[in-house]
């Protein structure tokens, strides 16, 4: 019974532990939704609108229905008899939106009919055989023109295509009505200003492009009135709730499963019409059905991100003190509001304080419908847009004042001593040390030499610039008061017979590595080998409750729930152990977990093995007083606040004078996400975020023509970064723990995305400054840059 020779288990939190999810993935043995096969399964295909706006004059599915192997073909009107309008998750008014359009189409790619057939090739053939005729309506494409007199409108009851109109926040605004009541501070700040910077900028529309397209398998069992739905989703519990509502079932009649999911980036939060349609068609046909999106459908029918125009003004003193910032925001949300559509741009408005102690900040937000794919969350979801506007404007101010951009930022930072810091928009930043992050970044980049290098390159005639951006973001969402679905997370921890541990989490990772980080935490908590721990997720039949993975919340909220449940299970286990060690009069409070044993602190000779205590808990003879048998506990964690990670990114960009092609030479990223469980995984998250932010800055843009036809509907026309487009990133971290959860972890999933876009654009503008350029919109298209260089050259603007 002594542990004298037992090897001590190393602590794992903070270590670069290799991921436990990898073996199945690197061997090709993981099960994504398209890998599922059920007996008798049918395949769905959707016929989609090929015009942007029109009334369905005639639709005929009879030819499709008559094809051999076709089980069912339904128009939107027919499906609407079984499925009502889809729910959304925001409090804003929204027009009706059906899974399959009933009488009118509002964007290219909107489904108009659905077929179920014996295989996917047949289903596609049948969808193609459906006949549809439209009376075309004028397409609404430009968000400003959408609000003009005489513009066509998309939805009855939404005059001038306005979904959310004149929604204000910040200084002098009544938070209840979202309307300004007092302009005096704003007026005074602008009156006092020595300098005013004003710029209109577009944060362009992007396609999230998870490499796995969406997909769903639905099986409705009529005998038991039970729906099982597998979906490539970030949040199976939300899917369960909404699918149950749409099908007229209770949550007890629905099991939602997110199998292996090939990336989400926000676009797999929304619950889509295809998911509801699959469930309905399984019920109607009596067979399991599968639908797998192809890439072109993903460009058309999976939500887009961003697409906000920001008109930003900064008022400042000549010494660089920022007095006020105001912004007019216009979001082009596409044709409908889906789950979080209308909410995302409000986050942009909330972030307009950036990392600065700006005393007067206000935004006014308008959201308009256009004949485009609906928008929703995309990595960062509203925060990258806000920080882009702030960081571009601050950079312009530095240039205007001829100040070093690092110095200007330092002068305006919220000081470390002032946290928690209430912003003008009503957020409370939890913790921060922005100067430390700046100093770390300046040292890592060797800022002064970097600038000297730029100057030397310029002297050789090269077009080179350096740029910097700072960010803060809202993560770890969040208190239930701010998250429409509820902001808590749930976890269960069971210590099994034999001493193995099974934990469940309502977080639903799809690449974030929580099977590893959560196991690291439990291994340390119980002092057992990591191989003895299973982390289960993504199945509402296994995980009792949950919200899901988005907004960089799985560690900060899901991890905190896990540790609450682990604490409860561990406490109970110690009581069983104390009963077993009654001879030694051990009190549960004196017991500790150590390397597979439970022992008296400071007296390791008094101990029992973890497995022995676990076995006793399930056959407790005699049952210790006051205890129930078993070791299975659960917990909900409700955070008291969001978390606010931050960081500083620095980059160097060169632009080819002859072709206009930009090249990112260096990117230095300092990120502070609080305490870190696994640095290897955190680095991976930052790398991936950087690539997406750089993608927005340099390459990516969803483009529509004037008829609302998408010009970017495949990987041939929508450019994402490839390996050779990117440099090796240089990462550093500072650590400022958050006080809002016991782990001190803030979340890191979105960080890299937010800082990198403005950082790269700031560097590009620095490169182009000698040509008189103040601003250039993303993406940094070679053609756009070439014109800026050569138009100036012709005008004698050559440096």
């Amino acid at each position: 019974m002594t542990s004298a020779n037992a090897p001590l288990l190393p602590k794992l939190i903070g270590e670069r532990v290799k991921r436990r999810e990898d073996p199945r993935l690197i061997r090709g043995l993981a099960t994504y939704v398209d890998d599922l096969k059920l007996p008798g399964m049918l395949h769905l295909a959707f016929r989609r609108a090929d015009i942007a706006h029109g009334v369905i004059r005639r639709i005929d599915v009879s030819a499709a229905a008559a094809m051999e192997g076709v089980e069912l073909a339904l128009t939107g009107a027919e499906l609407a008899e079984h499925l009502g309008p889809m729910p959304i998750g925001t409090p804003f008014p929204a027009p009706d939106h059906y899974s399959v359009a009933v009488d009118r189409v509002r964007y290219v790619g909107e489904p108009v009919a659905v077929v179920a057939a014996a295989d996917r090739y047949l289903a596609r053939d049948a969808a193609d055989a459906i006949e549809v005729e439209y009376d075309e309506l004028p397409a609404v494409v430009d968000p400003e023109a959408a609000m003009a007199d005489g513009s066509a409108t998309l939805h009855e009851g939404f005059a001038r295509n306005v979904a959310v109109g004149g929604y204000q926040g910040g200084t002098g605004v009544n938070a209840e009505t979202a309307q300004a009541e007092d302009d005096s501070a704003m007026d005074a700040a602008f009156a006092e200003a020595d300098v005013v910077i004003s710029q209109c900028m577009l944060n362009q529309r992007l396609a999230p492009n998870a490499m796995e397209p969406r997909g769903v398998v639905a099986r409705y069992e009529a005998g038991s009135d039970y729906l099982t739905i597998w979906s490539a989703t970030q949040n199976p519990h939300i899917l369960r709730t909404l699918a149950a509502g749409m099908l007229g079932l209770g949550e007890h009649q629905v099991r939602a499963i997110a199998p292996e999911v090939g990336g989400g980036f926000g676009c797999k939060i929304n619950i889509y019409g295809e998911e509801y349609a699959a469930a309905a068609l399984s019920r109607l046909t009596g067979a399991p059905v599968k639908w797998i999106e192809d890439r072109t459908e993903a460009f058309l029918a999976t939500t887009h991100g961003r697409d906000i125009l920001g008109d930003v003004e900064i008022a400042a003193k000549r010494d660089g003190t920022i007095l006020a910032l105001r912004a007019q925001l216009l979001a082009d949300i596409g044709a409908y509001e889906v789950l979080l559509t209308a909410l995302i741009p409000t986050l942009t408005g909330m972030m307009m304080n950036g990392v600065y102690r700006i005393p007067v900040v206000r935004h006014e937000l308008t959201e308009v419908f256009t004949n485009k794919t609906p928008t929703d969350a995309y990595r960062g979801a509203g925060r990258p847009e806000g920080l882009y506007f702030v960081e571009r404007a601050v950079d312009m101010l530095a240039r205007e004042l001829d100040m070093d951009p690092a110095e200007l930022r330092r002068r305006n930072f919220i000081p470390a001593a002032e946290f928690p810091f209430p912003t003008q928009s009503g957020l409370v930043y939890d913790s921060g040390d922005y100067e430390a992050a700046l100093d770390t970044a300046l040292a890592a980049a060797d800022w002064e030499s970097l600038k000297a290098e730029r100057d030397a390159a310029r002297a050789e005639g090269r077009i080179v610039g350096v740029g910097m951006a700072f960010y803060v973001e809202v993560c770890g969402l969040g208190p239930s008061s701010v998250v429409p679905t509820g902001g808590w997370e749930h976890s269960g921890v069971t210590i099994e017979r034999g001493g193995k541990v099974t934990a469940t989490t309502g977080a639903s990772p799809h690449g974030q590595g929580n099977e590893t980080t959560f196991a690291q935490m439990l291994a340390d908590h119980f002092s057992v080998p990591i191989g003895d721990i299973a982390i289960l997720h993504g199945d509402t039949g296994v995980v009792k409750q949950g919200i899901g993975t988005f907004g960089s919340r799985s560690q900060a909220v899901g991890g905190a729930a896990l540790m609450l449940a682990a604490g409860r299970a561990g406490d109970k286990m110690k009581r069983f152990a104390a009963a077993l060690m009654a001879d030694h009069e051990a009190s549960p409070d004196d017991l500790v977990f150590e390397s597979g044993r439970i022992q008296v602190a400071g007296a390791p000779e008094v101990s029992r093995s973890f497995a022995e205590v676990a076995d006793f808990a399930y056959v407790p003879v005699p049952l210790p007083a006051g205890l129930e048998p078993g070791l299975s506990e659960e917990a909900f964690f409700e955070p008291e606040n969001n978390t606010y990670p931050f960081g500083c990114h620095i980059s160097m960009v060169e632009i080819d004078r002859d072709t206009g092609e930009p090249r990112l030479l260096r990117l230095i990223a300092v990120d502070d996400c609080g305490n870190v469980i696994n640095p290897l995984i955190v680095e991976g998250q930052v790398h991936g975020g950087l690539a997406q932010g750089i993608g927005q800055a340099m390459f990516e843009e969803v483009v529509y023509d004037e008829d609302g036809q998408p010009l970017t509907a495949s990987f041939m026309d929508y450019v994402m970064p490839r390996a050779a487009d990117l440099p090796a990133f240089e990462l550093e971290r500072t650590v400022t723990p958050t006080p809002v959860n016991p782990l001190g972890a803030k979340g890191v999933g979105e960080a890299g995305t937010i800082g990198s876009s403005p950082c790269v654009v700031n560097a590009a503008v620095d490169a182009l400054a000698p040509f008189g350029v103040r601003h250039v919109d993303m993406p940094l298209r070679p053609e756009r840059l070439w014109r800026l260089i050569h138009d100036r050259d012709q005008n004698g603007g050559q440096p």
Binding site: L25, G28, H687, A724
Partner: protein, 159 residues
Amino acid sequence: MSETVPITVRVNGRERTAAVAPRLLLVHFLRESLNLTGTHVGCDTSQCGACTVLLDGRSVKSCTVFAVQADGEEVQTIEGLAAGDDLHPLQDGFWEEHGLQCGYCTPGMIMSALNLLRENPSPDDARIREGISGNICRCTGYQHIVNAIRNAAERMAPA
């Protein structure tokens, strides 16, 4: 749709015969007919590389090859890479260096890297980045993938 063509393909060392529709894509033959679902589909336009397999030792995008074109040929997929429980050095490299997150691009990425290392057993980082430029990863930013391939190249180098 009733017309089928008989084909014989050696897949991961095992001979498979089947009667397939002429328009059946190789990737669907592997995934649907043979249940080898490690090869993924990420696009319809041979841009993403998620479907990369080796056809007679050379990497191809199996979404752009008909199954009938593989008749009489040898196909290697991700499932055929490990020898029993012994991972291939590229698999070890990806695991060791955290070369994957969601894992969806990974099989194709590994098969492309295999092709690269056969042509150039000790590529520098620029060559590695070039060599996997037919494959898109949306999760990793590629840096850990580059590390993974370098790691594998070192393991595979003759001692």
